[in-house]
């Protein structure tokens, strides 16, 4: 178990090293950093001086090591546009994104697993068929269309929910949450639903497929032959066996939710990291872009590590085999 975690950690560090190298190279390949910092009227001497002060004349390797050293401490320099430390900017915006992702992940898991189990067991009922055919919508419609449609129905036509922003936010000092006001909840509903729709359908279909397969297995037949109740069979025996592959996908998807909430945040003008990234791209704000890249990679690495640990918790064949 311990060796396994160490090995995983080593792999994660390798991934982060590669990503940071790419993030670092952004500075040198996406425009000249000095040009991005100084105004049009800076003199040639000024530019040379700034280059030297920033150490841009040093060998690339030295610069990379310096970048790494700073990155590990969360230092990614100043945003070109806003002239504030990038780590502060990200930390300010992170709560918005994390809360959005949390709510949509919960929606996706609860809806996806319940509907998946239901359609897996009641394979031929009309309600299962209805769920399955409507789930096609979630798979096939792009997020921005769903978002715009939801805004049109609930914000413009019915006027039930706000169309953009975070609504009422309570500042806890280190975290700005929208969970503590009704306004905040009203504001988070539409974007969270939009973000979760694709994940919900994916989890639904996966759980259903796994469920169908497990229900055919010998140990379910044997459980039936012992006269166990339907509830014990469906939830005690079948559901747990469907979870291993489902967790893999859920893990990857939750990483994806955080990384790619960009579109949803744009549609709903949600003040999270995704929106910040898109704005940074518009203005070639390289420090934010590179920091965001590292941040997303870190999220994926951590989520995958957690997924691997969850295998241990769920499947004794992995847990005991490794000891």
């Amino acid at each position: 178990m311990f060796a396994f975690i160490l090995r995983r950690l080593a792999q994660s560090i390798l991934v982060m090293a590669v990503v940071s190298a790419i993030a670092f190279s952004l500075f040198n390949f996406v425009g000249d950093p000095v040009n991005n910092m100084v105004g049009q009227d800076a003199t040639r001497e000024d530019r040379v001086r700034i280059r030297q002060e920033l150490g841009l004349d040093d060998p690339v390797l030295t610069q990379y090591v310096r970048f790494l050293g700073n990155a590990v401490q969360g230092e990614f320099g100043l945003s070109y546009r806003i002239k504030r430390p990038v780590d502060q900017l990200i930390l300010e915006r992170l709560p918005a994104t994390l809360e959005l992702v949390l709510v949509s992940a919960v929606i996706a898991l609860v809806l996806g697993i319940t509907a998946g189990v239901y359609t897996g067991i009641q394979r031929n009922s009309w309600f299962s068929r209805f769920i399955l055919s409507s789930s096609l919508v979630g798979v096939s419609l792009p997020t921005f269309i769903i978002g715009i449609a939801l805004i049109y129905i609930f914000a413009v036509y019915l006027r039930w929910l706000p169309s953009s922003g975070r609504g009422g936010v309570v500042d806890l000092g280190w975290w700005k949450t929208s969970f503590l006001t009704i306004d905040g909840w009203r504001a988070i509903l539409l974007p969270a639903l939009t973000l979760s729709l694709f994940q919900t359908t994916m989890i639904l279909r996966l759980v259903r497929a796994e469920m169908l397969e497990v229900m055919q297995s010998d140990f379910i037949k044997f459980a039936r032959a012992r006269g166990l109740s339907e509830r014990a069979i469906n939830f005690g025996h079948a559901l747990k066996n469907t979870l291993v592959p489902v967790i893999t996908i859920i893990g990857i998807n939750i990483g994806g939710l955080i990384a790619f909430s960009v579109i949803t945040e744009t549609v709903f003008q949600w003040p999270g990291t995704g929106l910040m990234f898109i704005q940074a791209v518009d203005f070639v704000d390289v420090p934010i872009m590179s920091a965001y890249l590292c941040f997303v990679a870190l999220v994926f690495v951590i989520v995958n590590l957690v997924v691997d640990l969850m295998y241990f918790a769920i499947d004794p064949r992995i847990r005991i085999g490794a000891q």
């Binding site: 297995s217 010998d218 140990f219 037949k221 044997f222 459980a223 039936r224 032959a225 012992r226 006269g227 166990l228 109740s229 014990a232 005690g236 025996h237 747990k240 066996n241 769920i314 499947d315 004794p316 064949r317 005991i320 085999g321």
Partner: protein, 569 residues
Amino acid sequence: MLLEIKGLDVDFPTRRGTVKAARAVSLTVEPGEVLGLVGESGAGKSTIGNAIMGLLEKPGRVTAGEIVFQGQDIRGLPEDQMKKIRGDKIGMIFQDPQTSLNPLLTIGEQLVETIQKSLGLREKEAEVRAVELLESVGITHAQTRLKAYPHQFSGGMRQRVVIALALAGDPDLIIADEPTTALDVSIQAQILDLIKGLCRSRNLGVIIVTHDIGVIANIADRVAVMFRGEVVETGTVGQVLGAPKHEYTKSLIAAVPRADRKLDRFTSVDYIEGGAKPFQRIDVQTHWLGQAQDLKSPEGTAINVRNLELGFTLKKAIRRKNRVILKAVDDVSFDIREGETFGLVGESGSGKSTVARCIVRLYAPDGGVIRVMGRDLLTDPRAPETRAAKRSLQMIFQDPYSSLNGRMRVMDIVAEPMRSFGLTSGERETRKIVGDLLDHVGLGAEVALRYPHEFSGGQRQRISIARALASRPRILICDEPTSALDVSVQATILNLLKDLQDELGLTMLFISHDLPVIRQMCDRIAVMKDGRICEVSENEALFSNPSHPYTKHLLDLMPRMDLLQPAVA
């Protein structure tokens, strides 16, 4: 009377019409009696077991008849009442212990859950009972084993756990569906003893569903023989196996490989093949297939294997002493003479298939020398002589379902070796020869345009044989070629192999776990255990006078066949 089935009909409506899985089946089981239900695949024997339990797979349903259990007709009982019968009154044991236990729950959890459901005990009491049950099926240290997961048990131990689970509700009738088919001979004997013992001590009625006459001979008191959904013959074991009345039973028993004496061929099993057309044989002497290759081995040995070694790394480690390596093949040496059939026999995990795979170089051995027709296939791999030696070696695999490419027509499957080695003058000749080959193995040339999924297991194995013959081999390696097949089909395939060997003078390496099959097929036999060869001896000598203790042990475990009528000389 514990169970009486009267005139049971089971239908499976399908798009192509109704399949009658059981027709007018009548059976009885007394307490303390083992009823063997024997038949080949598709005979409907498992259907009977599922019908009794009310667990027929959809869309199957019972359309007529009665299932009277302890005086009550349980056919069509509502689901909630059936639940009380399943497990509490009738227990069921399945074929594959690897898959019949939930891998994510401990043995204890599964037992306690079942005991609580059936007997309504509290958790502590149920646990005590679970320990008693495990002990009664011969599992030691039961208290600690409760916390173990299924994958921590071996196959035989798992089947014991399955039996304990089936007994958890203290049932009066046990239906065992092929309970030992997935197990090794030695384990099989133990499990059968256990079932028989439980039957006697608890006064249980037992229905054993099996395709294996040997199992029936060992355990059953009475037998019912099923053929195409009907019970064709019922009686005591001695009567049915010793003096069968029905034609089907006769041919079924004739198809069972005997260990007591070697026969030239299996006697006629035509009743089962039913209307198979007579083989259109080709005259091998003049045909392409028989045009002998000039490839001759210098010393008359087709294959010689010297000090073969192969290990699989089970656990990797940087330090050598921490590594765990399984010696799959450990210092194995033998010679196969030209024209003989050499048998490799052993239980699963003995390394017999690994040896075959090393010879055809599917695995690269760690050490040792393998010579095929006098040539080491590793030296100078591009030389024409080496290529010829490789071509002279062909393999027939165990599983006829996965060893043929499902996207290729039979024509292309069989023609592939000829095309790849450039053995014919052109496409026209290739097609002609493929047709002849298919005729010769008893399929008929017209099947060339069909795909593998359209064929049964036995027919597919014939396609595999035709494919193996297509490179005009001198040596055939048959790795358990019939263990996935029914007895009657096995008999016809083994007959075919024997005929081909006679006609073409083939050398065969025949691998099997099944001693009677080895007895019928081989000239000389090597017995393998844990990667080593225990003894090599002539067929007759091995069976009449085994020298190695392990061989004796294996021979002792063979199902007794003395009940069967004496073999026709």
